[in-house]
């Protein structure tokens, strides 16, 4: 029984060639354009780490009452606290989902992809009088070109009743839908 390999126009390194890294880099654009790739991109901030810290001090805290038994959060609870995660992905339409615990010290988080705000223009208010660990925020219909993108989470304002500008998250999920 024979199997067929799709022609991806990749340049296969010659026999004995050790420059696999160069070969891969040379074909990176082709890999980006592989439109059938639908594996979600997932940042687990309990074991992973953000690419850049914009402001504030962040750390992970184990807590059995949380969705993933822990969360990534900012004890500085200041306006402007934020971080950036980066990824490479094929061109397509994407849905972004992430958990953000609501609490009495939750701020308003705004989301930017490549410095362009996405989702609610007013951000997402994470204040609640009682803790809500099951709060999942979803942003659909994100059109991304092939290549590298930065995903920015930043605290920008707060509810008048909130005592701080806190963001608590553990998982960020980006899924190509079309």
């Amino acid at each position: 029984m024979s199997t067929q390999t799709p022609n991806l126009n990749l340049t296969k390194p010659g026999q004995g060639e050790t420059g696999w890294r160069d070969a891969l880099n040379a074909n990176w654009d082709t890999l980006d354009a592989m439109s059938y790739v639908r594996t979600c991109i997932f940042w687990n901030l309990l074991t992973g780490q953000p690419e850049t810290i914009i402001q504030g001090t962040w750390y992970r805290q184990q807590d059995s009452t949380r969705l993933d038994c822990g969360e990534f959060r900012n004890p500085t609870i200041a306006n402007g606290d934020g971080f950036i995660c980066k990824c490479r992905c094929p061109a397509g339409t994407y849905t972004l989902r992430f958990n953000a615990v609501k609490h009495t010290d939750g701020g308003i988080v705004k989301i930017y992809i490549d410095d362009v705000q996405v989702g609610n223009a007013g951000g997402y208010d994470l204040y609640a009088g009682a803790k809500d660990v099951l709060n999942i925020i979803e942003i659909t219909g994100l059109t991304l070109a092939a290549g590298e993108h930065s995903l920015k989470f930043i605290e920008d304002g707060k509810n008048a009743s909130s005592t701080g500008y806190r963001l608590r998250t553990s998982g960020i999920w980006l899924q190509r839908t079309a």
Partner: protein
């Protein structure tokens, strides 16, 4: 107590996410990060208490340090 943090206090060109492992008993780290942050790193929990008063565990640790 050693804790991994990601902080703008440690961001450099070669360390853009400000990753550092800090010792919460280290006076330099305490000064750099601030007592409010240190109290939460030590006390943990929900963190909410830190917006008002420090958690009991952190307050107790701070008192011990003062008496040294």
């Amino acid at each position: 107590m050693k804790v991994e943090v990601f902080s703008d206090k440690f961001v450099t060109k070669s360390n853009p996410n400000g990753r550092a492992v800090v010792d919460t008993d280290d006076p330099k780290a305490r000064k750099l990060l601030g007592e409010k942050v240190i109290a939460e790193l030590v006390g943990g929990g929900d963190g909410v208490a830190d917006t008002g008063a420090a958690p009991a565990a952190a307050s107790s640790a701070a008192k011990k340090r003062k008496t040294r």
